[in-house]
């Protein structure tokens, strides 16, 4: 681990590394704002169809396993914690701690996807699929396929964001091991941390909306 303070090389159009960090953080916040709007469209569709068919939503959501959903929520929140700890470790130049926490975050994300794949497998088996693919015989309401369209749409998009996050975390892990980060420069870790917290936050909204419909 390096103890000498080497000045990180920042891009030519910035005045200092701090300037670059500030600008990059702002960029990440703006990007997350666009993601809010992106998911927002789906949440809007959810709101519209739920207000049109409240009993159907109530009936269909029973086919979701809320225990697995709650487990996934705990998994993601923990991964946010480990991610935050990884950022803090980089800040303090504690490379080993950073590596451990990044690996934990990655493994927890894997766990999330494993639980998700069990859930999806069950749905596929029961014919609880979106739209025209729906072929379950227990649910009576004719609009039930819509619920599953929204379920797969929102959790699928969210899962895609988790996978992207995992790839980026792997890249961060590689760079940490290589020794790229220190007290003066840990910007990529911080930015990915912000993204990861957002992904977690989206799930925290999705879980009650899909799994806990009263």
């Amino acid at each position: 681990m390096s103890t000498d303070t080497h000045t990180h090389h920042f891009a030519h159009h910035f005045e200092s590394a701090d300037h670059e960090l500030e600008a990059s953080k702002e960029g990440m916040w703006v990007f997350l704002l666009t993601e809010v709007l992106f998911f927002g469209g789906l949440f809007c569709a959810y709101a519209i169809f739920r207000s049109m068919y409240p009993e159907m939503f109530h009936e269909a959501h029973k086919y979701l396993n809320w225990k697995l959903g709650a487990l996934n929520t705990v998994i993601l929140i923990t991964s946010s914690l480990t991610m935050a700890m990884a950022v803090s470790a980089c800040q303090k130049a504690q490379r080993n701690k950073a590596i451990v926490n990044l690996i934990l975050t990655f493994l927890l994300a894997c766990g999330f996807l494993v639980v998700k794949s069990f859930e999806y497998a069950h749905k596929i088996h029961e014919g609880l699929l979106p739209g025209a693919l729906f072929h379950n015989h227990e649910i009576v309401h004719p609009k039930a396929p819509l619920f599953f369209s929204i379920y797969f749409g929102t959790t699928g998009l969210h899962g895609f964001h988790v996978i992207c996050g995992m790839i980026v975390i792997l890249w961060l892990l590689f760079r940490t091991i290589r020794g790229d980060f220190d007290k003066g420069y840990f910007m990529p870790v911080e930015l990915v941390g912000l993204y990861w917290h957002f992904v977690d936050l989206v799930w925290i909204f999705l879980f009650p909306l899909l799994y806990l419909v009263s």
Partner: protein, 528 residues
């Protein structure tokens, strides 16, 4: 800040040579030129489809109904997504914005380059369908027709989806650039109005485009797997598609218009030799328009089956867009008062803008008012209206910006006389093409019509003739600008004697733009 010492004669165009230095460039000016070149190509494509549409409507009967439906769909889709939306922000903004604020580049040059390639990818994906089954839904992709059509619509939808990300990243880049990279002394009060315009545009791009993205994604999934959200046959709501679609597509027209207005706000002071009239009002009006833009999407749906109450609200809110727009038009004209006017091409295009945009804006009132909209919507009146505002604003603004920045971009001067003729041809051609369409619409000719009842023949023929004039104007413009590129006179660093800091650079500038970071000590329009 360190001083850059460039070898004499070195500028951003020749600093590094070879194709690879362009393909992987991080220089915002080169990226701007790459966008410019690509957009001129897509503009040519969209224009060819327009000529084809007008030939058919002029009575030349060159295609079948199915081919015609594809022609107008491609014309609209290409022009909206591949031309007017990126035109000024990506081609001109990328080039000029950093220089206008005294910076060396945009905040995220690599994201800037990625934006360009994302744009190219989406455009290629959509263009590929020309060789497949084509697309015939109209650029608005209304469900359920867009769900059922057996054409290659999904490829175009995904192409537009991908291009949307280019727009989002450009907006993101500009917001952070304006926030974080302003030179010392450049307070918000001294920010040039083109920057204000790009800022407001970027906010719209960042907030509205993701909604389009999810809409196109949902429509593609509806086509592929029938999720049942828009298709009434499986329980969906086709009017919901219209709400989602227009929630983006109305703000989108301000992505087209606001940067153009920003260009006009820059050009008029320079060529009048006096400050812009009402700087604060114009900056405020820009944001006012951007805000109201998000509240009025329903005015595209007055006869769609939307409730009377919704119609009431949307009509009322739409009226509020007229006021800040009017304020801007009055301010621009007032800037000319007691000025010392120099009739160079940029100012002439600014005049064209004022004429064409004002007509477009006023005809918008006919459509914003509920009673008149019922008869006029979905007719050629709407086609004329949006061409007047879109071409009037974006295209005229772009031409003004192109002629304004040409010496800076290429270090060459074009022939003023040729430019005046080009401007005249384009202006006359435009009005001959589109003014008759207001009358056609009022008389009841619906839009997207392959054939029409005989009463509408004369005005259609007139409109087709106009389209040839516009084409001639653009061909002429390409010729004299091309000639200037090759053999034009060498441009001085500040041929227009502008005060903004982007003109205090060489023509063309060095890669770093400025030898030393400028310190701003006065406003951008203090022509005393």
């Amino acid at each position: 800040m360190s001083t850059i010492a460039a070898a004499p004669g070195t500028n951003y165009l020749n600093a590094t040579k070879g194709l690879r230095s362009w393909i992987g460039t991080l220089d915002h000016k080169r990226i701007g030129l790459m966008y410019l070149f690509t957009i001129l190509c897509t503009f040519l494509m969209g224009g060819v489809f327009a000529i084809m549409v007008r030939l058919q409507l002029g009575g030349f009967n060159i295609m079948t109904a199915d081919q015609y439906n594809r022609a107008f769909t491609y014309h609209g889709t290409i022009m909206v997504f591949m031309v007017v939306i990126p035109m000024i922000p990506a081609a001109i903004g990328n080039f000029a914005l950093p220089m206008l604020i005294g910076a060396k580049d945009v905040a995220f040059p690599r994201i800037n380059l990625a934006s360009y390639y994302i744009f190219l990818t989406g455009a290629t994906m959509a263009a590929y369908t020309l060789f497949a089954k084509g697309v015939d839904t109209g650029w608005t992709f209304y469900a359920p027709y867009s769900i059922r059509t057996g054409t290659s619509a999904s490829w175009v939808l995904m192409g537009a989806f991908i291009m949307g990300f280019s727009s989002i990243f450009t907006g993101l880049n500009f917001i952070v650039t304006i926030h974080k990279l302003r030179a010392p002394g450049l307070t918000w009060n001294r920010l040039p109005l083109f920057c204000w315009a790009l800022y407001a545009t970027s906010v719209i791009q960042v907030l509205a485009t993701p909604v389009l993205a999810i809409t196109l994604l949902l429509l593609t999934f509806e086509r592929a797997t029938g999720i049942g959200i828009f298709d009434p046959k499986i329980g969906g709501d086709p009017v919901l598609f219209q709400h989602f679609f227009w929630f983006y597509s109305h703000p989108a027209v301000y992505i087209m218009a606001l940067p153009a207005m920003g260009v006009i706000s820059e050009v008029i002071p320079v060529f009048s030799r006096k400050p812009i009239f009402g700087y604060k009002a114009i900056a405020l009006a820009t944001f006012g328009i951007a805000l109201v833009a998000f509240l009025v999407w329903g005015h595209h749906m007055f006869v769609s089956g939307q409730s009377e109450f919704a119609n009431f609200v949307f009509s009322l809110l739409t009226m509020f867009v007229a006021v800040p727009t009017g304020v801007k038009v009055f301010s621009w004209v007032a800037t000319l008062y007691k000025g010392s006017l120099r009739f160079n091409a940029p100012l002439l295009y600014a005049f064209c803008f004022l004429f064409v945009f004002t007509v477009g804006g006023m005809t918008g009132m006919f459509l914003a008012a509920l009673a008149t909209d019922v008869h006029l919507t979905d007719t050629y009146f709407v086609v004329a209206h949006f061409h007047y505002v879109m071409v009037g604003s974006t295209l005229m603004g772009f031409l003004a910006a192109l002629h304004f920045y040409f010496p800076k971009m290429f270090g060459k001067m074009y022939s003023e006389c040729s430019a005046k003729w080009g401007c005249f041809l384009i202006f006359m051609g435009f009005n001959v093409t589109f003014f008759p369409q207001f009358i056609l619409g009022s008389q009841g000719m619906p839009r997207r019509y392959y054939a029409y009842v005989p009463e509408f023949k004369t005005l259609n023929q007139l409109s087709t003739f106009g389209s040839w004039l516009i084409a001639a104007g653009f061909i002429w413009t390409a010729i004299y600008l091309g000639r200037a590129l090759v053999a034009g006179a060498k441009a001085p660093s500040n041929p227009w004697e502008a005060l903004t800091v982007d003109w205090q650079t060489a023509s063309p500038p060095i890669t770093e733009n400025f030898e030393t970071t400028p310190v701003i000590t006065s406003g951008p329009y203090e022509y005393r």
